[in-house]
């Protein structure tokens, strides 16, 4: 059985009055009513006490254990890693984003070793064709590759290679953004030691130093970065 009916309709507004959640009109209505109603003044006092008591009581309860947080984040991480890119949980999937993701996926780390191998094989085939000359012969004593395969006067500029390890919390999307932002690409990795090899096209004489500095400045992502001598 429910307790007795409220004496006045204004009495039902008193909890909101105490927590300051009434509209200005409602608040004014309660203010006006309280000036002449002793019963509601008494009710207001009780609600104030109860408001404090409930807040204190709930505040004093212990919170959840850290295990709950760990469990949620682990599940989320697992789902993010296993879900297909275009239907990942919690993402918007407009057609523009789908295209962007498809393009981006080409540059993802898992494709990098295969892509690098294909490029190397492709380059080797082209090189053999060029060096072989019209008769397609390649053999000892044909001279250094650089002298015969590349037209004279065209400088060959090797990529600046930097070997890095990322911090454990680094997310793939942030790694890609950083590397691409510096005009580079992931050539290979990770190795069993977690090493990635990044390649950058040199743009100035001291660019290897400036790229190293830029990478090392991102301590939130980069653990170690070292210039890889050819």
């Amino acid at each position: 059985m429910e307790p007795e009916q409220p004496i006045h309709t204004e009495a039902t507004l008193l909890p909101g009055y105490v927590s300051h959640t009434l509209t200005p009109d409602e608040r004014q209505e309660v203010d006006h009513h309280l000036q002449s109603c002793a019963a509601c003044q008494q009710e207001l006092q009780e609600i104030k006490i109860m408001h404090t008591a409930i807040k204190t009581a709930i505040e004093k309860r212990p919170g959840p254990s850290p295990a709950a947080f760990a469990k949620v984040m682990s599940r989320i991480h697992q789902e993010t890693q296993t879900a297909p890119k275009d239907i990942r949980i919690g993402t918007e999937t407009s057609w523009l984003e789908s295209i962007e993701r498809s393009v981006r996926s080409l540059f993802e780390v898992r494709w990098a070793p295969a892509l690098a191998s294909l490029l190397i094989v492709g380059q080797a085939v082209i090189l053999l064709a060029v060096l072989g000359g019209p008769d397609g012969q390649v053999g000892p004593g044909s001279g250094p590759i650089i002298e015969r395969g590349v037209p004279q006067g065209t400088p060959v500029i090797p990529l600046i290679k930097i070997q890095v390890t990322f911090v454990e919390t680094a997310q793939e999307i942030h790694i890609r953004r950083l590397v691409q932002g510096l005009g580079g690409q992931i050539i290979s990795g990770p190795t069993s030691e977690g090493l990635y090899t990044l390649g950058f096209e040199p743009k100035e004489t001291d660019s290897s130093e400036s790229i190293l500095s830029a990478l090392n400045a991102h301590t939130d992502l980069i653990n170690t970065a070292a210039y890889l001598h050819p």
């Binding site: 429910e2 307790p3 007795e4 409220p6 009495a11 039902t12 507004l13 909890p15 909101g16 927590s19 300051h20 959640t21 009434l22 009780e46 609600i47 006490i49 109860m50 408001h51 008591a53 409930i54 807040k55 204190t56 009581a57 709930i58 505040e59 004093k60 309860r61 212990p62 919170g63 959840p64 254990s65 295990a67 709950a68 947080f69 469990k71 949620v72 984040m73 599940r75 989320i76 991480h77 993010t80 990942r88 949980i89 919690g90 993402t91 918007e92 919390t169 997310q171 999307i173 942030h174 939130d220 992502l221």
Partner: protein, 194 residues
């Protein structure tokens, strides 16, 4: 992105930051709401293990539904709406015998204490009595008192969250408060205090 100070973001901006699978932003959202959602679940369920299990379910549901948030209500109302549904589902699944759990007044003994031992003892006793009195209310009354007195949600927000008319919210809060007062007096809290 790890340099972002998530604490400075509004609820709405933090939620938006979570959407492109940003686990870091979601961790910040989790930490912002975990205690509030957990206490809400504790009020309804009266059992810490069940409340914690449901908290995990609520947070995973939030993560999965991030893109469905339309911004028409406050983020907190949306989150408590999910918590309400998960709590109702969880309570449906278990029997009342399984919901015995740890009495709240036992838990209060382990809560943090302040500086004045006498004040602490009085506060702890009052908190324990209030928590005990809350547990003897019906689930509907426990929930509505939590929303109105602890979360300090407005009547329209509570109405939206529970899918009930605003006038029902007003009268339910009134009845719940009257019942809690009776329970406290029954436990020996004097009429002078209440």
């Amino acid at each position: 992105m790890s340099s972002t100070n998530w604490q400075d973001l509004t609820d709405s901006d933090l939620l938006k930051a979570c959407v492109p699978n940003n686990e870091e932003a979601f961790a910040a959202l989790y930490q912002r709401y975990e205690k509030r959602v957990f206490q809400y679940l504790m009020t309804i369920m009266n059992e810490a293990t069940l409340a914690e299990e449901t908290l995990v379910e609520v947070m995973l549901a939030i993560w999965k539904s991030l893109q469905t948030f339309q911004g028409q209500s406050k983020v907190s109302t949306w989150i408590f709406g999910i918590a309400h549904h998960k709590a109702v589902d969880a309570l449906r699944k278990i029997t009342s015998q399984q919901r015995g759990g740890t009495p709240l007044d036992d838990i209060v003994e382990t809560a943090e204490s302040g500086h004045n031992p006498l004040e602490d003892a009085q506060q702890n006793r009052m908190a324990a009595l209030t928590n005990q009195a809350i547990t003897t209310l019906s689930p509907d009354h426990r929930e509505i008192l939590h929303m109105a007195f602890y979360e300090e949600l407005s009547y329209p927000e509570i109405a939206e969250l529970l899918h009930i008319p605003v006038n029902t919210v007003k009268t339910r809060v009134y009845y719940a408060k009257q019942q809690l007062k009776k329970n406290l007096q029954h436990q020996g809290v004097t009429k002078e205090i209440m």
